[in-house]
Amino acid sequence: MDINTKKIKKNAYRVTKERGKTALRIRVPGGHLEVKYFDIIKEIAEKFGDGSVHITIRQGFEVPGIDFDKIPKINRMIAPIIQGLELDYGVNIEEVEQGYPAAGTRNVSACIGNKVCPFANYNTTDLAIKIEKSIFPNDRHVKIACTGCPNDCIKAHMQDFGIIGQVEPVYDASRCVGCEACVKNCKKRVTGALRMENYKVKRDEDRCLGCGECILKCPTGAWSRNPEKFFRVVIMGRTGKRNPRLAETFLEWVDEATVIKIIQNTYDFIESYIDKEAPGGKEHIGYIVDRAGYYTFKEYALKDVTLGPKAKVAQYIDFGGYKYERNVYFDKNSK
């Protein structure tokens, strides 16, 4: 059996522990799809796999137990999925019948978002699709997720880019009856950004996360939404074998265009700073930022970005996390 593993990996298949068998991975940008695609996945799993499918943490499907020689046929079978979940979204893929052209940049995942969830501050799937469109296909290893609110159900804090929805609560004091539902709730469940003064509510903008709980709790509509959408971007969270850590806040109160632009800019940063000698030419973005430094990353990421009047940028980030072995950071052999 003669298999070019580099090629099939790029095609979103993988080398498995069972010799001769591969597994197909299907992207579902934004984690939401029409059920008609299940029929195709079912057919592939039943005809060419072992009849099972794994739901991945990134909201894709992985169909195991496939013979390598079935790849071209399966690629033709998944053409409607690539059409519907990539091309129709505006993703640029030249050959629809040859499978996924890249696997480095992972599926952009999303919580259920404001399609369903009362807490969500935006349509997470829609934004995930816009991001997919602007960065895929790409071989660089970047993980991105969109979550509707700071509850962070999608675990945006475990991503290279976590996009967290923010809402600016707008207060109309004349509609406030002073029931304190918002104040008590913010204190108990959020950051205590609200307090009563003269029977009306004062909001500490520096403490406010933009979660929108005050709007949800308000029985009179004294709190309402600024219809503009805002986002907090947390960056460089990760798991892995060297230094697992939660992502830290990079930007707050930025708009959608900014979110997309800084992610795009990051790919330029990667090209400039990736370790050319990294094993297999692969280096995870977080480690590149570790080496190049946050300040350099920031310069790249914010290039040609016009921040809105409410936007905030982190001046410094202490990523922390923990290290399994500190010596991994020392190169004993060098001068």
Binding site: N114, P118, A120, N121, Y122, N123, G148, G165, V167, V170, A173, S174, R175, C176, V177, G178, C179, A181, E197, N198, Y199, G212, I215, L216, K217, C218, P219, T220, G221, A222, S224, R225, N226, P227, K229
Partner: protein, 336 residues
């Protein structure tokens, strides 16, 4: 007299009326709703009739025009009590028959309960003219027909919205603004005769304290979260609380104001010193229910609830007030 006229013509009438009146109607506040990408529909001033939302029930009732959520009663400069300056303009409100009946309930409390009149309400009330929106279909949760509030003659003008507008106006004061517009037609407004929700009203003669101790209220102790939405969206809830403040930047001056209060909300009965009543949420549901369909009638001869159903629309816990009334009726028997 009734007129048929185009929207464009009616907008010219509105422009004319605006010299003398503030004109309120349900309007859509896009994207400002409780949940993201949802709208709020509530009363606001309009310039053109197209701004009015006709195909949806206003989430909040028009009571906030007559009985503002926050209303300043006095300004204090040193120790003097100074009343706020009265608004010059008169008021036109576009509203449905149920809400017109609701205003009668507010009149009962603010003007007829006890020997003294609430002047703040009275001053606004005297300025108001009703432009009745013809309502023949109703909305989810409406039960005006059961409450007998689907029909009214108390309006200055009644309007049918169609290709063009047909307006029956009874108030001669309005005639000059309409002069030269539209053509005279025969028209009298129709009223909804059947809602999706029907309520059987209890025989109030059979209600006594034993009803207050029924198990049916216990369920609400578990379900109600005491947020007060049902009170605040209600057309007829008229309770309020006094607040005095000294201005932050000038503590010598300040004001006394009143704000809406709700019997479901914590603190409604709490007295200085800490004693309060109805700590249990089921008791609050019982108290409100009895007021709307029992004791208000005992005092004033007709039910308080007008069946607009906004409480059901608004309850985040899906508690249905109309269903609660039916439960009461099941226990005590139906009104004859």
């Amino acid at each position: 007299m009734a007129l048929q006229l185009s929207y464009e013509a009616f907008n010219k009438v509105l422009q004319e009326l605006k010299n003398e009146y503030k004109i309120y109607a349900p309007i859509r506040l896009q994207g400002t709703g409780r949940f993201s990408d949802t709208d709020v529909v509530r009363y606001g001033e309009i310039n053109r009739i197209e701004e009015m939302v006709i195909d949806e029930k206003a989430h909040f009732s028009p009571k906030e025009i007559l009985f503002p959520i926050t209303q300043t009663l006095f300004y204090y400069t040193s120790e003097e009590y100074q009343e706020p300056k009265e608004e010059d303009k008169k008021i036109i409100i576009f509203l449905r028959p149920c809400d017109i009946h609701g205003v009668m309930r507010l009149d009962q409390v603010f003007l007829k309960n006890g020997s003294l009149q609430d002047v703040y309400y009275e001053r606004l009330r005297e300025k108001v003219k009703f432009f009745m929106i013809e309502c023949t279909e109703g909305f989810d949760n409406c039960f005006c027909v059961s409450m007998g509030t689907n029909q009214t003659e108390s309006y200055s003008a009644a309007i049918r919205f169609g290709e063009e507008l047909i307006i029956d106006f009874k108030d001669e004061e309005l005639s000059p603004a309409f002069e030269g517009f539209g053509k005279t037609v025969d028209f009298s407004p129709e009223f909804i005769q059947k809602n999706k929700v029907e309520v059987r009203l209890p025989d109030t003669e059979n209600i006594d304290n034993s009803l207050f101790e029924q198990d049916m209220w216990k369920e609400y102790s578990q379900r109600c979260i005491a947020c007060g939405r049902c009170n605040f969206v209600c057309m007829t809830c008229s309770c309020w609380t006094m607040q005095d403040i000294a201005y932050e930047d000038n503590p010598n001056n300040g004001e006394r104001r009143r704000v809406w209060a709700g019997c479901h909300v914590d603190g409604f009965t709490d007295m200085a010193g800490g004693h309060g009543f109805r700590k249990n949420y089921g008791d609050r549901m019982r108290y409100k229910t009895m007021h709307k369909i029992y004791d208000f009638k005992k005092r004033n001869g007709y039910h308080m609830c007008v069946g607009c159903g906004r409480c059901d629309d608004a309850c985040p816990e899906y508690i249905s007030f109309s269903n609660c009334i039916n439960k009461v009726t099941q226990i005590v028997g139906e009104e004859q």
